[in-house]
């Protein structure tokens, strides 16, 4: 009995000591969602991307503020409007020891259309390639079907995998739309759970992936960018906010993403450090422009939202400062644009003032002195404090006479109903994955058109042909300075017309042990490779 009681704490003590030692070289991260696959070409999902970037790399990278920088390509140039020449980095090794060459790039891009059952395919990027040839092992020519100034940016999304590890033939020849030859038998997504198939050039190698439980990666000693910081990194999905914070406080994990804002003071008091950054995600209001908009009352069947004065009145009725301060606890910034300046294509436009008096005047001018009633749609589990924000907006609109009811539902239902145009006005968010203005303009406010693929998320069906033309021109302008200016003009056109109402930019927060540091990213990704030991 005495022996037992003595040895147990002793053994526990040894365990703790050995754990602490192992700890110095090991990093564990609590993520708020789980990767659906280790196949970097399977599902375009932020969790998959942020996890995958530790193992796989692309020709280009984006730094913490989404500036495009060289990745596996050392440099590139636009030979003409549709031809790009990429100089590939030399001396790069894959995890299996083989050399990285142009063949791997061609194989990787060829594989994308061959991935089966993808819920969100990467073909939206590879579909634009007309031709791909290797001049030599480290020079690659890519011709695009249309002029695409964002090509280097988009390349960041296309992970390079090892042609050898996946069983490609010696000669891989590109042909558009999945018609490449020399591909061998292409392994499908489930095969990537094995470290023998999930072979990339990234700083960490896949060690094991237990679905629902954890993903472990280990240091790749021959990484071209220098020795990676951690010997081992464990990423655990902890989907609920409370338990994720508890895991950090209890020391189970060293860093967590998206701690709830209301818990931040407690986390800081407990001696952890918190970093935050403005994200590329804008929270906005979109208003139905069609004649027969549903959910509007007191206007004799007319749609008041078609009147720019009414839209302006709504914008002026909102006290963005109050929302950012009181509901978001200071972790948001009132927005005057669709992307936080100084990102590409922003003009530095002022935030609309809070002016309920002027708003009432505008409503009266538009012929609605007594206001009207409106349904405001919002998800209640998608954006930070989304439902509370919508409630606040509804109250503010009620003060100028627009009696607003909030219709809050879970994200899966909200998106389906929004896409079915069921809301006269809705609140949603947009993260510009390319980090430039063309992204929100093209998806949110360009005219909905299935043939050009624009306005996909324009569920208010706002349409401004002048802006469409300018945007199309910008999108075929390779010159950055000119394109920047055109995008600024296009954005100003929409905002002057109150075609969309920006509310605020979300701020992304990370909490970690005080001996760690992480440079917060605007794209909200948590990338293990960028977590460092604090100096």
């Amino acid at each position: 009995m005495t022996v037992k009681t003595l040895t147990l704490p002793l053994a526990a003590g040894c365990l703790v000591a050995s754990l602490a030692q192992a700890h110095a070289q090991e990093l564990s991260i609590g993520l708020k969602s789980e990767a659906t696959s280790m196949d970097p070409h399977f599902h375009q999902l932020s969790t998959n991307i942020q996890v995958g970037k530790n193992i796989f790399e692309a020709l280009t990278t984006q730094d913490a503020v989404q500036k495009v920088t060289p990745g596996l390509a050392e440099s590139w140039e636009a030979v003409d409007d549709t031809t790009w020449r990429f100089k590939l980095r030399k001396g790069v090794k894959f995890h299996d020891g083989s050399d990285f060459t142009a063949r791997d790039v061609i194989y990787s891009f060829c594989r994308v259309p061959l991935v089966q059952n993808s819920p969100s395919a990467y073909t939206i990027f590879t579909g634009g390639i007309a031709e791909m040839t290797a001049e030599d092992d480290h020079t690659l020519i890519i011709k695009t079907k249309d002029t695409n100034p964002l090509w280097p940016t988009e390349l960041w999304s296309l992970a390079i995998i090892s042609a050898n590890a996946l069983g490609a033939e010696e000669d891989v020849v590109f042909a558009p739309d999945g018609e490449c030859t020399g591909m061998g038998e292409v392994p499908q997504a489930p095969a990537f759970n094995s470290p023998d198939i999930a072979v990339g050039t990234g700083p960490y190698k896949l060690e094991s992936y237990t679905r629902g439980s954890e993903l472990t990666v280990t240091r790749f000693e021959d990484y071209w960018g220098g020795t990676p910081e951690w010997e081992r990194v464990v990423m655990r999905p902890i989907t609920s906010d409370g338990p994720r914070v508890a895991a950090l406080l209890a020391g189970d994990v060293d860093l967590i993403e998206s701690p709830p804002i209301q818990d931040l003071p407690r986390i800081e008091e407990a001696g952890f450090s918190v970093v935050d950054a403005l994200s590329n995600r804008i929270i906005y209001l979109h208003m139905q422009q069609l004649d027969d908009a549903p959910g509007i009352g007191g206007t004799d069947g007319k749609n008041p939202l078609q009147d720019a004065r009414v839209r302006e009145a709504i914008s002026l009725s909102i006290n963005r400062e109050a929302i950012a301060e009181r509901i978001m606890g200071g972790y948001a910034q009132p927005a005057g644009e669709l992307l936080p300046p100084p990102m590409f294509g922003t003009s530095g436009r002022e935030v609309d003032p809070y002016d309920p008096e002027r708003a009432k005047e505008l409503l009266a001018e538009a012929g609605y002195p007594d206001g009207f009633t409106l349904n405001l749609g919002t998800p209640n589990d998608r954006y930070i404090n989304d439902e509370q924000i919508a409630q606040a907006v509804a109250q503010m609109m009620a003060r100028i006479g627009i009696q607003t009811t909030v219709d809050a539902t879970t994200a899966s239902q909200f998106f389906s109903r929004r896409n079915a145009l069921e809301f006269p006005i809705y609140m949603a968010g947009w993260g510009a994955s390319s980090g430039d203005m063309s992204s929100p303009l093209k998806s949110l406010v360009a005219t909905y058109d299935e043939t050009t693929g624009t306005g996909t998320t324009n569920a208010g069906r706002y349409s401004n042909p002048e802006m469409d033309a300018l945007l199309a021109e910008a999108m075929s302008t390779i010159d950055d300075a000119k394109r920047d200016e055109m995008l600024q003009q296009a954005e100003t056109m929409v905002l002057d017309d109150y075609g969309i109402i920006p509310l605020h930019y979300e701020q992304t927060v990370w909490a970690m042990k005080s001996d760690l540091s992480y440079e917060p990213r605007v794209d909200q990704y948590t990338m293990a490779r960028e977590v460092k030991k604090a100096e």
């Binding site: 939206i124 629902g212 189970d252 693929g453 996909t456």
Partner: protein, 325 residues
């Protein structure tokens, strides 16, 4: 016996089919999974292509028809999210949930029955009252809150146990289990207690009420009068006779623990089936939801069947053929 089994199987099949129809239509009514799954920057053409790839462009009755045809051949569909067979994804998670549920069941029985019997034998003692008072707490405090409190006390404040996750696993009879390693065991304790608390309270109350009833029966009085030791009276005459209602409850509760350990699994980030169900509902991953609930019905039906068999072992007077399923 055979008639009884056939009738039970028929009923379970009916329940499974009804479940499949309801869930299929229900999930379809919530929304379109592609709206949630696809990158919002995808064009309309990409969305249409994805819908087609997942078979979501067909009318509901056609989708259901395809599902039934495949199900009859043992294929419950391919997950929209993972791109792998739904059943395989669920089976991957089953051992973790089973382990958690069985350990929780063991805890609730091993602690619940002795405490309940004790409280039943001495209902007016301080110990008896304390046990009953405690069981009310176990009943009435929400599971989620209990879990958070356990984490707060044992993981955050005291730092004795980890706050969540499954820890190290080893292979046992071909399955990955965590109770055989120290690390795994420490991860298992808190979620198992969390899951067990409610059931334990239930068993305590049930055991107490039955003990009180049985203690007054003539055969117990007779046994005492005969001069049997108190120990024998309790172990043989009382315990055996309170077991039938207890076994019923244990059976029912084990089914619900396996199928709906969702709250505990979410709070403790336990990689079991319950967490998979929640994730799948959020992403409208219909094949997984449908397969999961069908499997759940199957598990509960089988456990009930097992309970009936145990009845007949506990009480020789009960014949399976006479029971109405």
């Amino acid at each position: 016996m055979l008639v009884y089994l056939v009738r039970r199987l028929g009923q379970s099949l009916l329940a499974i089919v009804a479940m499949a129809v309801l869930v299929f239509a229900g999930v379809y009514a919530i929304g379109n999974p592609v709206d949630v799954l696809i990158n919002p920057e995808a064009t309309q053409a990409e969305i249409a292509a994805t819908m087609q790839r997942l078979g979501l462009d067909r009318p509901l009755y056609e989708q259901f028809g395809i599902f039934v045809m495949n199900a009859l051949q043992g294929d419950l569909g391919t997950s929209f999210v993972y791109g792998r067979p739904a059943l395989a994804i669920i089976m991957e998670r089953l051992p973790a949930t089973m382990e958690l549920a069985l350990v929780a069941l063991f805890l609730s029985v091993a602690i619940g029955i002795p405490l309940g019997v004790w409280a039943g034998l001495r209902p007016d003692s301080i110990a008896g009252r304390t046990i009953m008072g405690g069981s009310i707490l176990g009943f009435s405090l929400p599971n989620f809150w209990q879990g958070m409190l356990l984490i707060l006390v044992f993981a955050v404040l005291l730092g004795w146990l980890p706050a969540g996750g499954r820890g190290e696993t080893t292979e046992f009879l071909g399955l990955q289990v965590s109770f055989l390693t120290w690390d795994g065991l420490t991860h298992l304790i808190l979620p198992a207690i969390n899951l067990a608390l409610f059931k334990m309270s239930l068993i305590i109350r049930l055991a107490r009420a039955n003990t009180r009833e049985v203690s007054l029966q003539d055969y117990v009085k007779f046994a005492r009068a005969k001069g049997l030791s108190g120990r024998r009276v309790v172990m043989v005459h009382i315990l055996k006779n309170i077991m039938i209602p207890v076994v019923t409850i244990i059976g029912l509760e084990l089914g619900s623990m396996v199928a709906f350990a969702i709250v505990t699994e979410t709070v403790f980030a336990w990689p079991g089936m319950g967490k998979l169900l929640i994730d799948s509902i959020n992403l409208l991953d219909r094949p997984v939801i449908v397969a999961y609930l069908m499997l759940t019905v199957l598990i509960i039906v089988s456990i009930n069947l097992l309970v009936d068999v145990i009845y007949s072992l506990l009480d020789p007077r009960i014949r399976l053929s006479e029971m109405k399923g």
